[in-house]
Each structure stands twice: as structure tokens, then as C-alpha cells.
């Protein structure tokens, strides 16, 4: 069972370049998320999706776009990368339930380290 798979694991970009981070989950989870982790900041929610075809903004959405065309995939795009977007990005998923003990138990991918020069 792969769980949550992120590609690529590492990427170096120049300022102004664009790229897409791919996330795939094989657990049939309804919800998917993109978080970024920065030193001293913990993890911060960028965007999330509660189902196929839906997306919503999180805590720090500026400079990012997302798409959820298929239930198992959640894509994070950077249209014009900036040095402030240098970070480790984590994709996560969880299942839909009325109980917080379920939906808030996130399964994370291993992370994608992005450096913007």
C-alpha cells in the first residue's frame, strides 16, 4: 500500500519559473491537503480539497494554485516561483467523517523539498 505519494522529492527552480507538484493517494480518501513546512513555523495549510472537482484556500494560499480533477490526485502549482516559496511541501489526505477523530487524522506523503534561487 503506497499511501500518499509525492513527486518530485526534490526540485531547484529559478525565480519566475513555474512547476507543478504532484500528489497521489490510493486510500480512496475524500479530503486532500497541501501544507508547507518552514523552520520555526510548523506546517501551514496552503490549499485543500473536500472532494473531486473542489478546492479551497487555506492559511497561506497566495502564489499557489491547485486542481483536483481526479479523486486520487491533488496538484499544487507555482506559476511564478519566488525565493519565499523555498520550503518543504507535504501533501496529505483524510477520509470524510462527521467525527474529528477521523477527518483530522491526516496521512502525509514524504514531502517535496523545493528551492527557489
Amino acid at each position: 500500500n503506497a499511501g500518499v505519494t509525492q513527486t518530485p522529492k526534490f526540485r531547484v527552480l529559478k525565480t519566475g519559473q513555474s512547476m507543478t507538484l504532484l500528489c497521489a493517494q490510493d486510500m480512496n480518501h475524500e479530503y486532500m491537503y497541501w501544507y508547507r513546512q518552514d523552520p520555526g513555523m510548523g506546517l501551514r495549510l496552503i490549499h485543500y480539497s473536500v472532494g473531486e472537482g473542489t478546492t479551497a484556500k487555506g492559511e497561506v494560499p497566495d502564489g499557489y494554485n491547485v486542481s483536483r480533477l481526479k479523486k486520487q490526485n491533488f496538484l499544487l502549482g507555482l506559476e511564478s516561483a519566488a525565493p519565499s516559496q523555498t520550503s518543504v511541501y507535504f501533501c496529505a489526505s483524510s477520509y470524510s467523517t462527521r467525527f474529528p477523530s477521523g477527518a483530522n487524522v491526516l496521512t502525509f506523503g514524504a514531502g517535496s523539498r523545493l528551492t527557489v534561487l
Binding site: 506546517l43 501551514r44 473536500v50 474529528p100 477523530s101 483530522n104 491526516l106 514531502g111
Partner: protein, 115 residues
Amino acid sequence: DQQVKQNSPSLSVQEGRISILNCDYTNSMFDYFLWYKKYPAEGPTFLISISSIKDKNEDGRFTVFLNKSAKHLSLHIVPSQPGDSAVYFCAAKKVGSGNTGKLIFGQGTTLQVKP
């Protein structure tokens, strides 16, 4: 504005002793709290959680305590083992955010358990 704070960046304990990781929060609208554990080069994994209607939840060697009046929670690991060495994140969910995993995370505390 850090709504969930882990003020100790690191903690070192001896194997077999108790590890106590602390977390403070500022928003009284949080109603559910979780601890995640993260090893290097891996994603965080869920460890234990507690609802705001409780003050304690226990799972094996791990116990989480919640003090709502002080807006403080702590994770106790007894006894600590070298395999517990990791970064621990405290996270909280706001009332009204639905059950959608929109969590607010603390900065993390790196625990080192020495053999």
C-alpha cells in the same frame, strides 16, 4: 500570529525516563487537538488526539493532557525509548471548520532519547 505554540524547540531525555512535550494555544475556539510525530525524510504521522470535552487521553506509553483554562496541552511519553526520537508537532482544529483536517500546527519540538 502563532495560535499554537511549542516554546521548546528541543528536549533531551534518558531512555526509560518520562518525556513531557508542551503546547500552548491562544484561540479559545479550538475544540480538538492532535499530536503528530515526524522522522527525518518522512511525513508526519498521527500519534494521539484529544477532544476539548476531555482532559486526558491515553494510548499505551502516550498520554495527552488538556488544561483548557490554561490553554495548555502536554504529551507524556513513559517510558521513553530511543525510537521515540523525532520531531513532535502539536495541532489544533477550530470549531466551525468542519471535520476537514484544516489544522493549525505548532512549530514542533525535537525529542532526543538517549540510550
